[in-house]
C-alpha cells in the first residue's frame, strides 16, 4: 500500500533541457567559446563603445554652440554635419584636408610599395650580396619615430617662412622653395621612408613562402617569365600586397606627427591634423564629425580587406614548410643592386640620424665650428627656460624613459597575448560570427587616428560609469588604450600564426591527456614563441614612438619620452628635441636588436611567425 501511495517518480527533464545540459558540459571543457565571448566583450567595451560615444557626440549639441545652432545642449542636431559638409568653412574644415589626405596616402603607399616591394624581391629572390645584412638594415627605419624624418628634413631644408632656426641649406645661402621645405612632397617622402619597411617585411615574408616549384611548374608548361609573374606570383602575392597597402593607408590616415611638423607651417592640413586643431579649438562637435568620417573610411577599408581575404583564403597556406628557395642570378647587376639597397639604407637611416646627431652637437645647425656637448651634458643652458640643462642632467629624461619602458612594455605584452588569443579563437572557435567580429574589430583601431581614439576613450572613461571608476590621468588608462590601438599588429600576426599552425598539434596534446591550460602553456605558446615575440616587439617599437595618444592621455605625472621631445619642439629647442628623439631611436633600436638576439627570432622573417 505504502508503495502505491508514494508519488510517481519525477518525469525526466525534457529532451531540450538535457541537450542544453550536454552543450554546457562540452563548453565547460572547451574554454575557446568562453574565451571568445570574453574577448568579444572586452573589444566591444574598449573599441566599439568609445566609437559610439564619439558618434553620439557628433549628433548632440555641445555646450557653447547654443547661439549658433539655436538649440539646447544635449539635443539631437544636424548642425555639425552642416558645418563640416555644407557651410562656407567646410572647404577648409573638410574637403581640403580630405583631398590632401588622399594625396599623401597614395603617395606614401606608392613610395613604400616601390621601395619596400622592390627591396623585398631583391633580398628574398636574388643573389644580391649581403642579403642577410640588407634584410636587417632595411627594417631599421621602422624603428625610428616617424617624425625623426620630419625633424631631420626640417634641419636640412627649413626656410625662413616659419620662425626659428633655418635649415642647413638656407644657412648656406641656398633658398629652399616652400614646396621643398613644407607640404605634400616632404610629407610623402618622410612617411614613405618610415613605412617602406612594412611593405618590405610583409611582401618579403609572402615571397619567402611561395614555393619555387609553383613557378617552375608554370615555366615547364611553357609560360614565359613575364606570364609566370603575372599569373602565378602576383595572384599569390595579392593577399600580402593588399594587406600591406591597407596597413600603410590606415597608418597614414592616422599619422599625426609628420603632417604636424611639416604641414602646418604651410597651412597644409590633413584629416588628422585638422582633427587635432578642432579638438584644440574645443569644437568637440566638429571633431566628432571628422572622427566619424575617418572611422567610416576605416570601416570601409576593413570590409574591403575582409572581402579580399575571403576570396584569397583558399591559397593562403600555399607553400609552407617544404617551400624551396631559388634565387635569380643578377650576374653583373649584383653589386649595383647591393649599392641600391645600401643607398636606400643610407638615405633612410644614416642621413636622418647623422643630421639629428650633428644638429644636437652644434649651436648653429651642422656648423662644425660651433661643436658642443652642452645640449647633452651641460649643467645649465643659458636661454633655455623650460629645460635649462643638457638632456642627461636632471631627472626629466630618466623619469620619462622609465615611464616609457614600463607603460609601453606592459601594453605590448598585454597586446601580444591578446593577439595570440584572438588568433586562437578565430582559428579554433566554431562560431564564424565571433571570429569575424574579433578579426575586424581588433583591426579597427588601426584605421582610427590615435588622437581620435584617445579622445573617444577619454570621453568614455573620464567620468565614472557604473562600476568603472574615472580613469583619466591614470597609467592604467594609458596602458589600456595603447594596448588596444596596437592590437591590429598582434591580432593579425596571431591569426596568421594560428592559421599556419592549425588545430592538429593542440588536439594531439588534448588526446594525450593535457587539459586546456597545459595545452596553452606547453604546446601552443611555445610553438608560437616567434609570433609572440614579434607580437610584443612590433607594438613595443611603435608604442615607444607613439605621440598622439600619449599627448591626449598623459598628465604631468606621467611624462613619456615622446611627449618630452614634442614639448621641446614646441619650445623651439631644436637641438634638445633632436637629442631626445635620438635617445628614443636608440632605445627602440637596441630593444629590438636585443630581443632578436636573445630569442633567436628575426624581425625580418617575423611579422606573422
Amino acid at each position: 500500500m505504502a508503495v502505491r501511495t508514494k508519488a510517481a517518480p519525477p518525469p525526466p527533464p525534457p529532451l531540450r533541457r538535457r541537450r542544453l545540459l550536454y552543450r554546457l558540459r562540452v563548453l565547460r571543457h572547451d574554454p575557446t567559446a568562453v574565451l571568445g565571448l570574453i574577448l568579444v566583450g572586452v573589444l566591444a567595451y574598449l573599441v566599439v563603445a568609445p566609437l559610439v560615444a564619439v558618434l553620439s557626440d557628433a549628433f548632440r549639441l555641445q555646450y557653447g554652440d547654443e547661439v549658433h545652432a539655436g538649440q539646447q545642449p544635449g539635443e539631437w542636431t544636424g548642425y555639425y554635419l552642416w558645418r563640416v559638409f555644407r557651410s562656407q568653412v567646410s572647404g577648409l574644415l573638410f574637403y581640403e584636408p580630405l583631398l590632401n589626405t588622399l594625396v599623401v596616402s597614395l603617395g606614401t603607399v606608392l613610395f613604400a610599395l616601390v621601395v619596400g616591394g622592390g627591396m623585398a624581391w631583391m633580398v628574398t629572390r636574388t643573389n644580391v650580396p649581403g642579403r642577410r645584412w640588407l634584410a636587417g638594415a632595411l627594417v631599421v627605419p621602422y624603428m625610428l619615430p616617424s617624425w625623426t624624418f620630419s625633424l631631420a628634413w626640417l634641419t636640412l631644408f627649413k626656410n625662413d617662412r616659419a620662425g626659428g632656426q633655418v635649415g642647413v641649406l638656407q644657412a648656406q645661402g641656398i633658398r629652399t622653395p616652400d614646396w621643398l621645405a613644407y607640404g605634400p612632397l616632404p610629407i610623402v617622402v618622410t612617411l614613405g621612408l618610415h613605412y617602406y619597411p612594412f611593405v618590405f617585411l610583409l611582401v618579403g615574408n609572402a615571397l619567402r613562402r611561395i614555393d619555387a616549384q609553383l613557378e617552375d611548374s608554370a615555366r615547364i608548361l611553357g609560360a614565359p617569365r613575364r606570364v609566370v609573374v603575372r599569373r602565378i606570383v602576383a595572384p599569390l602575392m595579392l593577399p600580402a600586397l593588399s594587406s600591406a597597402v591597407l596597413l600603410v593607408v590606415g597608418r597614414v590616415l592616422g599619422t599625426f606627427g609628420t603632417p604636424y611638423v611639416l604641414g602646418l607651417p604651410a597651412d597644409y592640413r590633413v584629416l588628422s591634423t585638422g582633427l587635432y586643431q578642432a579638438i584644440r579649438d574645443r569644437s568637440t562637435g566638429v571633431a566628432s564629425v571628422l572622427t566619424a568620417v575617418i572611422v567610416i573610411i576605416g570601416v570601409l577599408i576593413v570590409f574591403c580587406d575582409a572581402r579580399l581575404l575571403r576570396e584569397h583564403r583558399r591559397f593562403v597556406t600555399v607553400g609552407g614548410k617544404g617551400a624551396m628557395d631559388r634565387l635569380s642570378d643578377l650576374r653583373t647587376w649584383r653589386w649595383p643592386a647591393f649599392a641600391l639597397g645600401a643607398v636606400i639604407f643610407v638615405v633612410s637611416v644614416v642621413v636622418p640620424v647623422l643630421t639629428l646627431l650633428l644638429s644636437s652637437l652644434t649651436r648653429t645647425p651642422m656648423d662644425l665650428s660651433t661643436l658642443t656637448l652642452s645640449y647633452w651634458f651641460a649643467d645649465s643652458l643659458p636661454g633655455a627656460v623650460g629645460f635649462p640643462h643638457g638632456i642627461f642632467r636632471g631627472s626629466e629624461l630618466w623619469t620619462a624613459a622609465w615611464n616609457s619602458l614600463r607603460i609601453v612594455g606592459l601594453a605590448s605584452v598585454i597586446c601580444a597575448v591578446a593577439g595570440l588569443l584572438i588568433g586562437y579563437v578565430v582559428v579554433r572557435g566554431s562560431a564564424p560570427r565571433i571570429a569575424a567580429f574579433l578579426r575586424q574589430v581588433s583591426f579597427l583601431p588601426y584605421l582610427i587616428p590615435g588622437i581620435a581614439f584617445a579622445a573617444a576613450s577619454l570621453s568614455l572613461f573620464a567620468v565614472a560609469r557604473g562600476p568603472v571608476p574615472a580613469l583619466y590621468g591614470t597609467t592604467f588608462l594609458l596602458i589600456l588604450v595603447m594596448a588596444v590601438t596596437h592590437l591590429p599588429y598582434s591580432s593579425r600576426s596571431g591569426i596568421a600564426a594560428m592559421t599556419q599552425l592549425g588545430r592538429d598539434p593542440e588536439e594531439a596534446a588534448q588526446i594525450a591527456g593535457a587539459n586546456w591550460w597545459q595545452r596553452m602553456r606547453r604546446i601552443v605558446f611555445p610553438i608560437q614563441k616567434g609570433a609572440l615575440v614579434t607580437g610584443i616587439v612590433l607594438p613595443f617599437i611603435s608604442g615607444l614612438k607613439e605621440l598622439s595618444i600619449v599627448v591626449m592621455l598623459t598628465t604631468t605625472g606621467t611624462e613619456l619620452l615622446t611627449t618630452l621631445s614634442i614639448g621641446l619642439v614646441d619650445y623651439g629647442y631644436t637641438q634638445l628635441a633632436n637629442a631626445v628623439v635620438l635617445v628614443i631611436a636608440l632605445v627602440s633600436f637596441t630593444m629590438t636588436y636585443l630581443t632578436q638576439r636573445l630569442t633567436k627570432s628575426s624581425l625580418a622573417s617575423g611579422l606573422g611567425g
Binding site: D504, N515, I523
Partner: protein, 331 residues
Amino acid sequence: MCLLGPSGCGKTTTLRMIAGLEQPSAGTIAVGGRVLDSVEQGVYVPPEKRGMGLVFQSYALWPHLSVRENVEFGLRMRKVPAPERRSRAEAALKMVHVFDAMDRYPSQLSGGQQQRVALARMLAVDPEVLLLDEPLSNLDARLRLEMRAELKRIHEESGATIVFVTHDQLEALTMATHVAVMNQGELQQLAPPMEMYARPANRFVAEFVGSPAMAIVDAGPAPGGLAASLLAHVQGHDRPAAFGIRPEALHLGTPPPPGAWSGPATVEAVLPAGASWTVRLRVLDTELFAVTHTPVEAAPGDTVTCWTDQLHLFDAAGLRLPALDDVAARA
C-alpha cells in the same frame, strides 16, 4: 576495426567524435560500456580524459619538442615518474623502430619516421583504444606495405583496440578484423572483411568493396539479354532488381558445376598481369570482366562458355536478397 568509405563520407568525423574532438548532435557514444558522449543523458567526457590515442593524418608532431619529448608528453600528463617515463618512451620508440632518432626534432625526420613517432607517442601511454586517421596515406608504396605489417604486429602485441580510417579497401580488408563501410555519413555494413566481401549488404558495398569492382546487371525487360538469362536462372526465388557478379567469380573454360548459371561469351580482350589474367567478355548484350589465375588460352573473337555459382541478388531498394547459395544452404 576499420572505417572504410569514399572521401567525404564522414569517416574522419566519426573518428573525431570517438576521440571527443567533435560533438554529436544526438545519440550516445560508449566504449566498453563506458558512456563518453550522450546528448540525451547530458554526459560528456572531454578528449583529455578519454585515455585514447589518436594518430593524425598530418601526424601533428610538436615541432618545438624532440622526438623523445614528443613521446614522453602523454606520460608527463599522466604524472608518470621520470625514470619510468624514459623507459616507456624508449620501449615505444623501439617498437616502431625509430629509437635511433630519439634526440632529433620532427623536422629532421622523414615522413615515414614522423608517422612512426606519431604512433609511438600514442603507444607510449598504452591506450585501450588507438585511433588512426588514414595512417598510411602519406607514405610511399613500399613503406606502406611495411607499416601495414607493423601495425598488425603492434595490434597483436599491445592488445589495444585499433580503429582506423581509410579509403583504401585493400588496407581495410588486409588489416581489419571488422570493417564498417560508410557512405554519405551513413553506415552501410559492419562485418568481418571476408564476410563483407562474400555477402555485401547492399549495392553500394558490393561495388565499393573488391577490386576490380563487382559488375551489376540491372534486371530490366530486355528479352534475350544477360538479365533475362539470369532471371530465368533464379526463377522460384524473390524476383531481384539487379544481379552482381564478381570478376573473380566468373569462370571460363571448365565445365560448369550443377546449379551454376552459365552462358555463351565472346572474348574481346585478354590482359595478362603476371599472376592473373583479366578477360573482357561480351556475354549476350553485356560486357563483363573475368579474373582468373589459370592461364587463358582463348584469343579475342573466340566464343567460350562462362559460368558462376556466386550470384549476388539485390532488390529494388538496392538491398541484398538471399543469394542462391544461402537458399541452398537453408534447404
